[in-house]
Amino acid sequence: MTSPSVTPAIRMTGIEKSYGPVHANSGASLEVMPGEIHALVGENGAGKSTLMKILGGLQAPDSGKMEVNGRDVTGWTTPDAIKAGIGIVHQHFMLVPTLTVAENIVLGMEPTKSGLFDGDAANAAVEKLGRDTGLIIAPKRKVADLSVGEAQRVEILKVLFRGAKILILDEPTAVLSPPEVKELWAVMRRMRDNGGTIVLITHRLDEVMDLTDVITVMRAGKTVGKLVTRNTTPAEIAKEMVGREVVLSARDKMKSGVSAPVKTAARASAGLELRNVVVTDPLRGRVVDNVSFMVAPGEILGIAGVEGNGQTELIEAIAGLRKLVSGTISIDGKDVSYFDVAHRREVGLTHIPEDRHRRGLVLDYSVANNLVLGVQNRFSSGGVLNERKIGDYSAKQVAAYDIRPPISAAYARGFSGGNQQKIVLAREMGHGFTVLLASQPTRGVDVGAIEFIHAQLLAARGEGKAILLVSAELNEVMALSDRIAVMYRGQFAAVVDAATATTEQLGEYMIGAKKESVA
C-alpha cells in the first residue's frame, strides 16, 4: 500500500526517549501517509503520548529521526510544528470558558483593525472555517455554555484555524455521546477525503475498526506492529497491544463460568436502595430528579447515559459528598441519608471515583499512603501510623493488583493511568464492603487493565456485593450489568434487562428520543 513515490506525511524512526529510569520510547517508529486516518494504539504507558509530544515539538527525542513531508525536522520546537501544519487536539480541553467560540479559536492570532481586536472578522473567519470543514458552530456562543461535544469541535477548529494539515487527536471520543461520535467521524472522513492526514490515539478498538485505514501498535515504548485495518480483527490488535490473548468481552468470561451469577433473592434486604432522591445544583437546578432504585446483593446495576445527565451528582450523593434535598439512601437496610462520608464507609460503602486525579488519589502521596487513604484508622494505634503494617499491606496489595512498577514508596503521580486506577481499586476493594460504587472504572485505562478491572468487578458480584456501575462506555455497561438504567436529564429514562438490551434501544433513551416511565 506504500508506494515508494509518495513521501510520507510523518515518518519517525528509532525514536528513543527516557524519563529517568523509565524508557518512554525505545525503538518507536511511525509512518503515516498523506490522506490517511492512522490509528495509534497501545496500552497506557506504551509511549503513544510521548511519541506525539515529540512530534508536536513539546519534547525532544534522545535519539532517532523524524521527518515531516520528507523534511528532516528532528528535535524541532512547538512553533516549528505548528508552522509545518501539525495540529494536536488534546484529550483535556484547553479553552477559556468566558470567551466566545470565535474568540477562543482565534486566540493568539487575532485579526485586528487599526490595532484593536476585530470581532466581526473573527466571527466571519470562524463561520467560514465551519462551513468548509463541516464543524458548524455558532461563533458568538460562550464556550461555558457548550456541551462537551461542541467544546471539542471548538478545539478541532482551533488547530485547523492555525493551518493544521496533519491532525492528531488524543482520545477524542472519551467524552462524547454516540450521536456526537458519529458526527465527529463524518467530519474526519471528510477531512481525509480532502487530503488531510489524521492520527487518532485511542483505546477503543471498535473506533479503530470503524474509521481508520492503518494501525500502528505500540507496546512498552516500542512500535510492535503495523496493521492494515481492513485485513485485521479487534482480537488481533488487542493481542499485539498486550502481547497475549485478551478476552475482549467480560460477558464471554461470565458465560464461560468464571463467575456464575448469584441468586438475587439470596438476601432479603437490598444492598443499596434509593427512594425519591433529589439533588440540586445552584446553577443547574435539579440535577438528580426524584430517582429511586435498588441494587441487590450480587447484582450489577449499570447506569448508561451521556455524561452530564446527573450521574456524577447521583454517585456523589450516595457517597456522601453531596447533600440530598429530599429522599433517602439506605445501605443494607440502614438509612444512611444523613451519614457523612466516613460513616457511610464504615457501614460498608466503597467507591471508585470517576476522577482518580482529583478525588481518587493524593498524587503526591506514595502508593502505600494512598492504599490506606480513608482507612488510616485501621493502620494506626494511639493516633500514630503503624508504618510497618502499612508497608506490609501495601506490598501485599501491590502484588495482588499487579501494580507496576511495584514500588510502594513511589509517588502515585508517576504511575500510568491504568496502574493508578489499580491503586484505587486495590484500596477500595481491598477491605470488606457490601456496596460498591464504580464510576467510570476503566476511563483512560488500557485494554489489559480494563480486562483486569472487569474481572475484579465480576468477582465482587460473585461474592454477593451490590454494585452500582456508571460508565460512559455503553459496551462496558452492557457487558457487565445485570440491569441497565439510562439516565437522562437527572432522571432514569428507562431500566432494562441487560440480557435483552441493544445499543440502538439504549442510544435512543440516552439522547432523550424515547422515555419510559419508571416507577
Binding site: Y19, G20, R344, D364, N377, S380, G383
Partner: protein, 354 residues
Amino acid sequence: MSAQFRAQLEEAIIPTVIALLIAIICGDLLIISYGQAPGPVYRMLLEGTWGNWYGFGQVLYKATTLAFTGMAIAVGLRAGLFNIGAESQIAAGGLAAAMVGIWLPAATPGIIAILVCIIAAGVMGGGVAAIPAVLKTKFGAHEVIVTIMLNFIVLAFINWLITAHLHQPESVHTATIHAGFLPRLQEFFPAFHGAAANLSILVAILVAIALWYFLFKSRSGYELRAAGLQPEAAEYSGISVHNVWMKAMILSGAIAGIGGINFVLGYEHYYEDGFATGAGFLGIAVALVGRNNPFGVLVAALLFATLSQGGLAIHAFVPKQIADVLQAIVIIAISAAVPEVRRLLLASRKRVTA
C-alpha cells in the same frame, strides 16, 4: 531507600545553595555599586554573626523567633492554608505570656511558671487564629484576607491595651513578670555574655521535633497533609477537610503565639509593643526556604537571622539596608530558582540513569 533519602536531601539542599549563590552575586553587585569591595563586607558580615559569641548569640535569638513563626506558617501550608496572621498571633502570645508571668506569684516553681506561660501564649495565639479558621470553615471567607486584616485589628487592640492600661509610667511596655523566666544562654556559657539568646531556643527545637513527628508519623498529620495536597481526595476518603483546616489554623496560631516567649520570658521579661515586628512576615520566607519541614525551618531561620544580624555588623561599610535587600534577594532567588534547579537536578539524574 538510602539512595532515595540522599536524592531527597540533594533536592532539599542543592537548590537552596544555588539560590544563596545567586543572592551573593547580586549582593556583590550592590556592594560594588556602593563603592566597596564585597570581600571585606562579607567577612564583616560573617565575623559579626558567626565569628564571635555575642554576634552568634544574637543570631540564635533572632532565629528562635523566626523558627516559631516559620513553623507556624509551615504547618498551615501543609494543610493548604496561608496564615499571614503570625505577625499578630506572636504579639498576642507574647502579651498572654507576660500577663500570666505578672499574675503568677514570684514563688511559683520555675518549670511550672514557664509551662503555664507557654500554654497561655499558645492558647492566645491559637485563639486569635481561631477567628479566621471559623470564618473560613463556616462562611468560606478566605484565610489570607482575614488574617491580614486581623493583624491590624489585633495589633491595634494590643497597642491600645498597653498605652491605655498596662504600660509602666514613661514607657511602652508592661510591668516585668514575676515568674516564668527562661534563663539566657550566658548563664550556661559565659561567652554568650550580653547576647539575647535564651532557652526559648530549646523550646523551639522541641516544638520542631514534635511537629515533625505529628506531621509525618501521626494519623492526624497524615490527614492534614492529605487535605493540604488534595482537599477533594481527602474529602472523598472521609476526612473532614473543614475539621482539618480548623485544627491546623489553630495549631499554626498556637505555635506563632508560643514564639512570643522568646522576648517575654527569655529576654526583656515584659511585653513591649513591636517586639517581633516583621517576624510574622519573614516567617513566610522562612517556611518557604525550609520547604515546610520543621527541621528545614530551623535551618532557614538561622539563615535569615544571620542576614538580619549581619546587617548590623556591616553598617560601618555599607548601609544596613543592604542586608535587607540581600534577604529579599534570597527570597526571590529561592522562589524563582528552586523549581528550576530542581527540574535541572531531576533532568541530570535522568541522564545519568538513562
